[in-house]
Homo-oligomer: 699 residues x 2
């Protein structure tokens, strides 16, 4: 990077030309002196000559506390604009309307974007048309590397701004002007984190691009598209979101075979009406004696075996698709391991043995110890509390019913609802507490990479949530061993929970947005840009993809774990997902602030969750088939004792698990052409390493 002082160009007005000269070249001052120089309105100046742009694109909005002192804001603007070697972020900042406003609007110059692209390990199109890991020094050979808007996606540019800001570390001990003396930044402190916890920074979010958003919406959910514009989603929202929608899409298409099979079985076994009748009559207390009077056991078994093998094939093919998408979106070789640790990471300063850089180090065994001795027991404890709550609920219900039988008054009638109400309150409280605990536990585990942190956090919440959802069903299936009740419960859950989901997720936010929020922030054409940006802040923040993924996982659980008791599951899920795709797309485009998402190479821990579920499904389905009274009756007629039947079931289960393992091993996780590309890269790296060592010798 050229020295900041060499360049006198700056950007002074909104979207203005950057060529306008600016005498007060503030950028060249080192960080410690920044607080003494006064700020100008308009964009801060670019710190290297190659980055001088015709047009500055506002990417990210930072919301400061309401009454931030102008010195602090000026210091912050200076910090953001200072070159990286001086401890700054090398970004472009705009103070909004004036120096006393509470927003900063950020953009990034070309050099910063390109360097961060290399640091993140993103792949871009090389001049030979292949996707190659981007290298700053080799930038001229990459396609479009002079035009950032074509070279990087919107999501990448915005993420890089966040990445640079969150990577800011104090180069020495210093005081921040305008803040109390008690607030001091120490050497290597993470500036962004400290300022956030001090309340100076309230929020930071990427800005929407109205034109692009409009085009995306039209291609995504306005019409009756069968295919989602996944590349456009990746361009606008980033690969995390694009992977979620790709998976949803892939999953929905893959639901077709089990749905057709389910319809077929239901139709031919004449079960359609009965199932429908049952699912409607959930609340009625009909003891399910007649339920299994005439099912086609062979149909159920077919469905169960099919869905067990289907789930493995599905997951294996998804892995192939996932790696293809990852290649296409340039996230196949993300170099998080080799980049700086995530902001929250702490440890003793030392030399990283892998990269040779000085950074905080934290031994792996200590992390393992913390996970083994603290995290796992605590998670186990909470799972135990869920079970305890369920047992108390069943006990309470039995007690209340006894009471009602004995006394039979309005009071006892009302008391009948007590256990359910208490259980719901208990469960909700528990899950709120658990989420906080999971966050602290994962912080305590001190993961080096952001993705590792996210995956561990997700895994913790996921296990708990899943357990919460399925504890009752498992209880019915394995302890009560009551298939008719299970079937009713499943049908009602499928129908009701999906309806509730759609309503709470989309309809309510839509109504709120349309009739309550929107009138308050009615935009007019002559609003200033700042006002428009500020308006985006009034939208609620996007709650993350956890809720979306867990919904799919729970669905997948219903389908794979209990499909044999309710053959129409796949049909219902298929119908649900066709609307889900559209409603999720609408939601993320219109109802929330645009979220930051890091580039990712796949679904992370969710993929493992789906795979685990697919194996658990074998156990569950074999067990449910075994419970079927019809099967037991048939076997008795065939002269087998219940122990023999159980033995056969266990053998079938083991066999199916082995078959699933073999299928999973046989289907490669990446397509052939990808493997060849990967091996080619490995080969070239090997050669290059040898070459380089030699050259280092010679020089």
């Amino acid at each position: 990077m050229s020295k900041a002082g060499d360049n006198e160009g700056g950007v002074s007005d909104w979207r203005g030309s950057s060529k306008q000269p600016d005498g007060a070249a503030a950028g060249e001052k080192v960080l410690s002196k920044l607080s003494t120089v006064s700020a100008r309105p308009g964009w801060t100046k670019v710190s290297c000559p190659c980055c001088v742009l015709e047009r500055v694109e506002p990417l990210v909005l930072v919301k400061l506390k309401d009454k931030v002192s102008p010195e602090t804001k000026r210091w912050l603007l200076r910090l953001i604009g200072a070159p990286q070697k001086d401890g700054g972020a090398s970004l472009l900042a705009h103070p909004g309307e004036d120096a006393s406003g509470d927003v900063i609007i950020l953009s990034a110059p070309r050099c910063t974007l390109l360097r961060a692209t290399e640091e993140l390990g993103l792949c871009k199109t090389y001049r030979n048309g292949e996707m190659e890991a981007f290298s700053y020094s080799d930038r001229d050979n990459f396609k479009d590397s002079d035009n950032m808007e074509a070279f990087l996606t919107v999501a990448e540019r915005q993420f890089i701004v966040k990445y640079e800001l969150e990577g800011l570390r104090a180069k020495q001990d210093l005081r921040v002007p305008g803040l109390p003396d008690s607030f001091t930044l120490h050497h290597r402190d993470n500036i962004w984190q400290k300022l956030s916890s001090a309340g100076v920074l309230v929020d930071m979010f990427p800005l929407h691009f109205p034109d692009k958003l409009k085009n995306l919406s039209e291609a995504w959910y306005s019409g009756n598209q069968l295919v989602q514009p996944l590349d456009a989603v990746n361009e606008y929202f980033g690969s995390s979101v694009a992977f979620y929608f790709s998976f949803l899409d892939f999953y929905t298409w893959f639901l077709l075979p089990p749905a057709i099979l389910g319809l077929f079985i239901a139709y031919f076994s004449g079960e359609v009406k009965r199932e429908m009748a049952e699912s409607v009559s959930v609340s009625k207390v009909i003891v399910g004696i007649h339920d299994d009077s005439e099912p086609l056991v062979s149909g159920h078994m077919l469905q169960a075996v099919f869905s067990m093998l289907w789930s493995t094939v599905f997951m294996e093919l998804w892995k192939r698709r996932s790696s293809t998408l990852s290649y296409r979106w340039g996230t196949l070789q993300l170099a998080e391991r080799f980049a700086d640790p995530r902001p929250g990471f702490h440890g003793n300063l030392g030399v990283n043995p892998v990269t040779g850089r000085v950074e905080p180090l934290f031994p792996d065994w200590q992390r393992d110890l913390r996970m083994g001795l603290v995290s796992i027991p605590v998670v186990g404890l909470f799972l135990g509390l869920v079970v305890l709550g369920m047992l108390c609920f069943y006990w309470g219900e039995a007690q209340m019913q006894q009471l009602h039988k004995n006394w039979d008054s309005v009071l006892t009638q009302a008391l009948l609802y007590m256990p359910s109400v208490l259980h719901i309150v208990y469960t909700n409280m528990l899950s709120t507490v658990y989420k906080r605990v999971a966050q602290s536990l994962t912080e305590y585990e001190n993961h080096r990479e952001e993705s590792a942190f996210e995956n561990h956090l997700t895994a913790k919440v996921l296990v708990f949530t899943f357990f919460n959802y399925f504890a009752v069903l498992f209880h019915i299936a394995f302890f009560k061993q009551d298939v008719p009740l299970l079937r009713r419960r499943l049908a009602s859950l499928l129908i009701i929970s999906q309806l509730v989901n759609q309503v709470t997720e989309v309809v309510i936010p839509f109504l709120v947005d349309r009739f309550i929020s929107a009138p308050n922030r009615a935009e007019s054409e002559d609003d200033s840009h700042q006002d428009k940006f500020r308006n985006q802040w009034t939208l609620p923040p996007f709650p993350g993809l956890f809720a979306e993924y867990i919904e799919l996982l729970v669905q997948f659980g219903y389908l794979s774990l209990f499909s044999c008791v309710f053959p129409l599951t796949a049909v219902l899920l298929l119908l649900n997902n066709l609307t889900e795709i559209r409603s999720d797309a609408y939601k993320i485009c219109r109802l929330f602030r645009k979220p930051f998402f890091p580039p990712v190479a796949g679904m992370g821990v969710w993929q493992i969750a789906f795979e685990v579920l697919s194996f658990v499904s074998v156990v569950s389905n074999c067990w449910l088939l075994l419970l079927s009274p019809r099967l037991q009756q048939l076997c008795k007629e065939g002269g087998m004792s219940s122990t023999d039947v159980l033995l056969v079931a266990v053998m079938v289960e083991h066999l199916l698990i082995i078959v699933k393992f073999i299928i999973a091993t046989l289907i490669p996780d990446e397509p052939d052409w990808m493997r060849k590309k990967r091996e080619h890269i490995e080969y070239r790296s090997m050669k290059a390493l040898r070459q380089q060592k030699l050259q280092n010798e010679e020089s």
Copy 2:
């Protein structure tokens, strides 16, 4: 490599100076002209000036057919000595006593060794003390790269000679002098393979180094060493053998905990005498009603659960040890994928997409198809034949006993043995046929890498052999459900088969060698070197490590699958292995010709076999515990039905499998320092690749 013609130096006499000039510079002639030039006695000349050595080390002996024509031999010597660019092997050859003898003795010059070291991807000590993948162009920075005897191990030098010979391919169509016209080498034919199948080449084996062998024997098995000289074994026999002995060593030490536990349980449950009595009284037909009258069920269970978890911990720690050894022996980054395909590989010529070289290509899907549609069904068929044989045996035995009961004569008495005899004959025939079939199947699968070929062949034979060994035990355990019979069978197998093994493997060869073969080849000090070398040929060829590994695997099977019925298994195995280490060492050093072994990074497919067995053991142990009449009685007293007991057993089994999975996931497969080294190499490769692309641009 310098042009062969530039160098007039050659080696003319045995271990003579190579400086002696030699006018008939034959090496520079291209291959097609070789047949016309006459050969000299003594070593062929070195093809590049840097390789001229003071002393030539005889490494490998090639045995030709008895009456090989001198022209053919001369052609062969010429071919071996010709530089690689002319289609030769760039090796040094010596024609033995004279040009009409039937042996060729080979050595390798420095350049050939170093180039092959790079091709094989061996790691050597860099000047900074780290193990780095060797690079020919960077050779001067590697320790000892000027002294081949210190730089490469004996085994590596000998393997490289074999590697070069087997990689010889005809550069154009040509006739071999002295062979019938019908024998023509076509373009790209593998010369060594063609000559072997034509009977010109009878054998090829590495030569022993008597001094080194003596030192190795002394350090290995002569005294009462507790520690094996594994590095010396790797140096002399190569990493394949060294890995086998490392595993044997590691396994033997790991047998201590279960052995101590077994002794403890056996002693406290007073079972020692009974077990001993039983194992001796195998042949007596005592119906085992009293057998389970007083066992400590808790002891058995403890043993079973312990051995199930032990086996996982053992395998995981072995993996760590294995990767450490692989780093130490420089085989961690073997580049077989990037090297030339193995000699037997065929396919259409094309450009390898990974390395960019022209070589035969064979699509993976076609190989997968062949495996799926041919290999797997054929292997299944043979496994079916094993089962069929076993069923026929049981049926025949029942018939004969019936016959004996009805007639009771000497004839029927003799006929009683018929089924056993027939079964043994059948099994042996089957396994002989199967071995050939497995070889052809694996050839048919057309694997590109030698290691893949070996692994697939081993896997096929392994499955069959293992099935053969265990079919009867499984039959007793799962169908007859006769624990006492199983216990007797196991005890007798353990004791008798180990005795038989030790006798057939060591005592008989030793006796044969000492009293029959040795007098015939009594060496005297004044024998010529050639005679000494020729004597080595009279030793039988080493039968390979398959028999050794399968013995360990079967042992491990006895221990992990059925340990809960016979707690002293580990003790017996421990005793056996302590002698096994010594007898195996003696065997490979003294009783056989020295074998060729490629450098390997681990145990290959054997590791998978041990791991699979460790998981199967959970199923088997849970089942055996369930069978215990004592347990069933206890449960009945506790008011559980047999179905309930079965359910509990299944749950315990699932739980144990999950625990094993978690243990296997939690223990990393490589030590922490290795992971860091590996990541460091990846990081440097990534950097180097970027660097190189840039330099390619600039140049």
